[in-house]
């Protein structure tokens, strides 16, 4: 690393072999034959499948973030949109950590063309681009705030340090809170000549490079040869997402993505009648969304190698589960059926009927 692929992608970071080794260890790959024997004793077929993926995220068009000070509160004005992934919490965490502001005093403003800048959530890029824009805005606030604080404390800017929301001069009792600096910055009488009023800061992030989230999924399935029903017995995943803002929400993203991936691999299909063009699977009676009973528990872990494409080291995680799950599930099914009937490929969704037909040589 870094590595330029044959297709001219510059991969900045990643320890792919380590990710795979960790996933294989966590999945107990080496003892799979014993589990297969156990399944066979119960007249079930068992298969193991692996999929590694590399995504490309964090590039593309710019994102803009502003940090604005309002009396006792701080507003984060974002161009991209929260639609259920927990971005509001993540942004608060980022700014709370960086600027030492109580998260209860932070408001996140999104989704209004009169108020918020251009941006878009999608492509696993929210934190890797908009989050980085926010982080850069915070850095600029610390830089500019240090100069303002130095003026207010009547010291030299080089002597001022910032930590936990306070500008201070080490070794002295000189200290001033960030919110006080922001308030003073709004009052031109308190500023040195030439100092622009206000501490509100906007950062427009044009991503200079892309990020490469990657990971390894290992799936074990058990198949009932009488019915063709596939049951996912084990699901292990190790991901490299770079720096993580919130591991709880990150894992939630992976869980949801895997559920969608399992849905695609086993259940979901938009079937159109070839003659009439009617959508035959046009309701939840016919279109099989995955349910809780279709989804196993996940053994999830990360092996994060920070990205060098952005100052936070974030890679992006939103789509990863949905990317890795379908090939891993299908590979496990093919593995289970290969020894019995020599199967080398099965199309998604691998419904009980398709699996049963494959087992019985019906095509």
């Amino acid at each position: 690393m870094p590595y330029t692929s044959a297709t001219t992608l510059l991969l900045d970071s990643g320890e792919f072999e380590e990710v795979m080794n960790r996933c294989m260890a966590a999945a107990e790959w080496s003892t799979f034959p014993q589990r297969r024997l156990r399944s066979e004793r119960n007249d079930k077929l068992r298969g193991i499948g692996m999929a590694t993926y590399t995504e490309r995220c964090g590039g593309g068009f710019p994102e803009t973030a502003s940090i604005e000070f309002k009396d006792e509160r701080v507003e984060l004005v974002m161009g991209n949109q929260e639609y259920g992934t927990g971005l509001v919490t993540s942004y608060k965490q980022l700014v709370s950590d960086q600027l030492g502001i109580d998260p209860d005093r932070i408001d996140v403003i999104m989704g209004d063309t009169d108020r918020t800048p251009a941006g878009l959530t999608g492509g696993s890029r929210a934190i890797a681009v908009a989050g980085v824009a926010l982080y850069e805005a915070g850095r600029a606030i610390i830089g500019r705030g240090s100069r303002l604080a130095a003026d207010l404390m009547e010291v030299s800017a080089q002597d001022v340090t910032f930590a936990d929301g306070v500008f201070f001069v080490p070794g002295t009792d000189l200290r001033i809170d960030l919110m006080e600096v922001a308030k003073a910055a709004r009052d031109p009488t308190q500023l040195s000549p030439g100092m622009e009023p206000g501490l509100d800061t906007t950062h427009h992030r044009v991503p200079p490079a892309q990020t490469f989230p990657n990971g390894c999924h290992i799936v074990e399935v058990e198949i009932d040869p009488d019915t063709g029903v596939v049951t996912i017995e084990r699901y292990t995943v190790v991901d490299d997402f770079g720096l993580t803002i919130n591991p709880l929400l990150l894992e939630g993203q992976v869980h949801g993505g895997i559920a969608q991936g399992i849905g695609q691999a086993l259940l979901e299909h938009a079937v159109y009648d070839p003659d009439s063009g009617q959508l035959l699977s046009g309701s939840f009676m016919d279109y099989a969304m995955p349910r809780a009973s279709d989804i196993p528990s996940f053994a999830f872990s990360t092996y994060n190698v920070p990205s060098t494409a952005n100052p936070l080291g974030v890679k992006g995680a939103g789509e990863a589960g949905a990317v890795g799950a379908p090939p891993a599930v299908i590979n496990a099914i093919v593995d289970a059926l290969h020894d019995r009937v020599g199967l080398r490929h099965i199309d998604m969704p691998a419904t009980p009927r398709r699996v049963w037909e494959a087992l019985n040589g019906i095509h």
Binding site: Q93, L120, G263
Partner: protein, 423 residues
Amino acid sequence: MKFGIGQPMRRHEDLRLVTGRGRYTDDITLPGMAHAFVLRAPVAHAHIKRIDATAARRMPGVLFVATGEDVRANGLGDVPCMVPLVNRDGTPRRDTPRPVLALGKVRHVGQPVALVVAETFNAARDAAEAIVIEYDQLPAVTGAKDAIAAGVAQLFDHIPGNIVFDWDNDMGDAKATEAAFAKASRVVTLELINNRLVVNSMEPRNAIADYDREGGRSTLYTATQGVHFVRDPLAEAVLKIPKDRLRVITPNVGGAFGMKAFVYPEHALVVWASRKLERPVKWQEDRSEGFVSDNQGRDHRTRAELALDETGRFRLAGFDPCESWRLSVAVWLLRADTFDRSRLRSLFDWGDSRERQRRLYQHRAGLRLSRRGTTRGRIPARAPRRRRGTRTRHQPGRNPPRQFRAAVGDALHIGDHALARFR
């Protein structure tokens, strides 16, 4: 616990959302708000011989009824394609009109054909039933393989063979790749179908438009993934008003997965109707409408070929013709953002790759980059080969996992022809 980076904090937004204090678009009620119902095509392919909305206009509570002719008479534009693309032969992609309401022909089940706005939703829906439409049904084509076949139904007169575009990445050395295949000790081929999915976000699509007559300004409340991304093309290309005359607000959103990133005909319909009526107009789809009108996901057909040398390595080989038939698609595909020279990516060390993609029009709901990422199959294998000069990774005598052997032997689950969006 510090509320800092790396901490597993619970979502700050949830207390409000799970106690019913969230504000989704459907929760918005504006004073004097009228309700829209969109009448959709019940057939996949047909000439519209006649639409008679006379009876519907006389129904109780009905405020406004519109068809494709009315949309045209009012000068509304089509929903635009966002990204240009050039075919392999240098010609531009063949764009097609995606009208706000069907004009002359319907091209998929669920395509908007008429709009009814009434005092209540039920009155609008009842009136829609009174619209008489005579369809002259035509043969439909719904499979990618079928769409490209000779003699099948053609969706647009100006698009022979239903081919939206025929693109290749043209980055590989064609001759070298041919040569690699010619001398390969083994060539493996795989055809993959990446099945079409309905996105099914928990919150269905919606749109509420308000109009300020004094300022001549509209406000659209709708679930999006970024308000400007919807506002700009909607104002400029469809409504043909300066974009500062349209404000788009996105309140809480219940899932999007790529599906809510784009402009839809219903956005234009409610803004247009509310400007006509000088009242707020609301449209909220139900689940069944979502199935036939939301942009769907995936649906590629990929044929991959891989040449291997005697050691099973890819690096002397190529990827050709790697006909990645993104035969997906559908009517009115608006973006072609999957196309750049470096789409194929994985940890494998291959010498060269060539790729070709075609998109075909079919009589199915719009397909876009919906549904959270794209499915990228992968050969189950060990990590990437190191570059020359570094420690060799392959350890003699250490067997690769069984799945790798099976894979190299034959069935390769390569499907990386889809790549996602917004990059």
